[in-house]
């Protein structure tokens, strides 16, 4: 990272769930005002606002200002698939590093409850005669005829592809990952679902895209998260109480996937994650073993497994062995997704990349209550935006 360190000064997430009577801005405002309160600051202290939303208007920054403070500061509306929230954070960080701001707010808000299956855009009605359209000259819809663009099916194949490289991974192994995350969720009051599920219940639930059953898929929920980021120089002018709770952003990295054969037919979330992890460890001056806990992008149980390897939490090819060792359970050596992960906490897309930072920051501050991971001094967050983007943050206290 550049010369000056950056810190999380305040951070907040709404409970994830269903909010039929609250709109994107209500949720974003709750998150923003919560982050201000947490950091002991006001909208008047912000020099920049980056606002993320993917599936609503995508332009929530200015409407949000009307509700939390219209101060004339620059607003950047951000979309970057499931990495939208993390990207909003990076916009604020880049502005601070560029010297254009010393404190800013990043927010992500999404309304996703009840939207159903997320799929690709390639669904078109047939015309009266076959007419080639688009970059493939397709005469009819290809999603479902030439593979799948549905997210559960795409990420199922990502998990299976890992098996092709390193030895077949059983349905049961993937389901056990989901069992872990649902178990973790029971201690997180902000999770949309807090129900412990047995392995048998998970495996016998509705099959969405083998080997992902319904509880192995991220939950479509509403929610928002926001954080106030501050420069070290500015932080040193604030109160001792504020300084004591600030969490250092030891690394912040965003990558995309470099070309390789196959990336055009199956999203490659491996290359971008591995590269982002390498850069993040170098920036923070730490190694994988120094990380006490990780919130990674378990949009599906099949995805969590491959990221053990991509984040270098285990030896190459040893993700199954790593999981079977128990390391990633909250009682294990290096817990993963103690929040319950996206499978039970929920995945309001634009909020996700800030909510996982909230989870880690809360543990590093020692404020996680019954689900506190003891001795947490360094933690990591990871999100994937399909298309593909990877964002990683390493936080340190």
């Amino acid at each position: 990272m550049a010369s000056e360190n950056l810190y999380i000064l305040g951070i907040h997430m709404t409970k994830f769930g269903k909010y039929p009577n609250r709109d994107l801005i209500d949720l974003a405002a709750e998150a923003a005002q919560g982050a201000f309160k947490d950091g002991g600051v006001t909208m008047g202290d912000m020099n920049i606002l980056a606002a993320g939303n993917l599936r609503g208007t995508g332009r929530i920054g200015q409407p949000l200002q009307k509700q939390i403070g219209q101060t004339g500061i620059p607003v950047y509306n951000v979309t970057n698939a499931c990495a939208t929230g993390a990207t909003a954070m990076r916009v604020v960080m880049m502005a601070i590093k560029a010297g254009e701001a010393d404190m800013g707010l990043a927010v992500g808000s999404e309304k996703l409850a009840g939207v159903g299956l997320l799929t690709g855009a390639n669904v078109k009605a047939d015309g009266k005669t076959w007419t080639p359209e688009g970059r493939f000259d397709a005469v009819s819809a290809t999603d479902g005829r030439i593979g799948t663009e549905t997210m559960p099916g795409v990420f199922a194949q990502i998990g299976m592809e890992y098996g092709s490289r390193y030895g077949e991974v059983s349905f049961e192994t993937f389901a056990k990952i989901s069992e872990k995350n649902h178990y973790h969720s029971t201690l997180n009051p902000l999770a949309a679902y807090q129900k412990r599920m047995s392995l048998e219940e998970i495996m016998k639930d509705v099959m969405v895209a083998y080997p992902n059953t319904r509880p192995m898929c991220s939950a479509n929920t509403d929610g928002a998260a926001a954080t106030v980021i501050v420069s070290e120089k500015k932080l040193r002018t604030l109160s001792k109480a504020q300084q004591d709770r600030a969490v250092k952003i030891a690394a912040s990295v965003l990558t995309t996937d470099p070309w390789e054969d196959g990336c055009q037919v199956l999203a490659n979330v491996n290359t971008c994650t591995r590269e982002a992890a390498k850069q993040a460890y170098a920036q923070a001056g730490v190694g994988p073993k120094d990380i006490r806990l990780i919130e990674l992008h378990d949009c599906f149980a099949t995805a969590e497994l491959v990221h053990y390897d991509n984040l270098m939490l285990c030896d190459e090819g040893a993700a199954v062995e790593h999981f079977n060792s128990g390391a990633t359970w909250r009682e294990g050596r290096q817990p993963v997704n103690v929040s319950g992960g996206l499978e039970s906490k929920g995945h309001p897309i634009a909020a996700t990349g800030i909510a996982n930072v909230w989870e880690i920051a809360t543990h590093l501050r020692g404020e996680a209550g019954p689900r506190q991971i003891e001795g947490a001094k360094i933690g990591m967050t990871h999100v994937i935006g399909l298309g593909n983007t990877c964002a990683i943050h390493i936080l340190q206290k």
């Binding site: 005669t129 493939f136 819809a141 030439i146 593979g147 559960p152 199922a156 092709s164 895209a209 083998y210």
Partner: protein
């Protein structure tokens, strides 16, 4: 025989239906869709090359929930055809886990996807157990 059109232009019909790719003349990276430039080396010249009709399964998912109009369950997969990976459904197989295996050998197969108002058939493709 009715007129036929392929579902996508990288499926070549005729006596010997097969898939083609647009290969970068500089670095040999292969693409199925129309490209403005090569994603690997930024070259802008491509030539069409034929792909082998046989391959092996690198990844699959049995998809039970899909866009309207798509019969479920079906098997989505990534097939390795020589050095090129192809997206396709595995067809002519009972879509159950016990019938599918990573690494299994498959071969290209075509089928009639439907007819339009003037009777032209659209031809789709998949891979079936070899």
């Amino acid at each position: 025989m009715p007129n036929q059109v392929p579902l996508v232009s990288y499926l070549v019909l005729g006596d010997d239906p097969h898939l083609i790719a647009h290969e970068c003349t500089n670095c040999k990276a292969r693409f199925f869709d129309r490209r403005n430039g090569c994603a690997k080396c930024f070259g802008t010249e491509f030539k069409d090359v034929s792909l082998p009709k046989e391959g092996k399964v690198r990844a699959f998912s049995i998809v039970h929930s899909a866009a309207p109009g798509i019969k479920v369950p079906f098997v989505a997969s990534v097939i390795e055809c020589g050095t090129t990976r192809v997206s396709a459904n595995i067809i002519n197989v009972d879509p159950k886990p016990e019938n599918l295996k990573l690494g299994m050998k498959v071969k290209l197969a075509t089928y009639v996807l439907g007819k339009d108002e003037v009777g032209t058939e659209a031809i789709g493709f998949g891979f079936e157990p070899a």
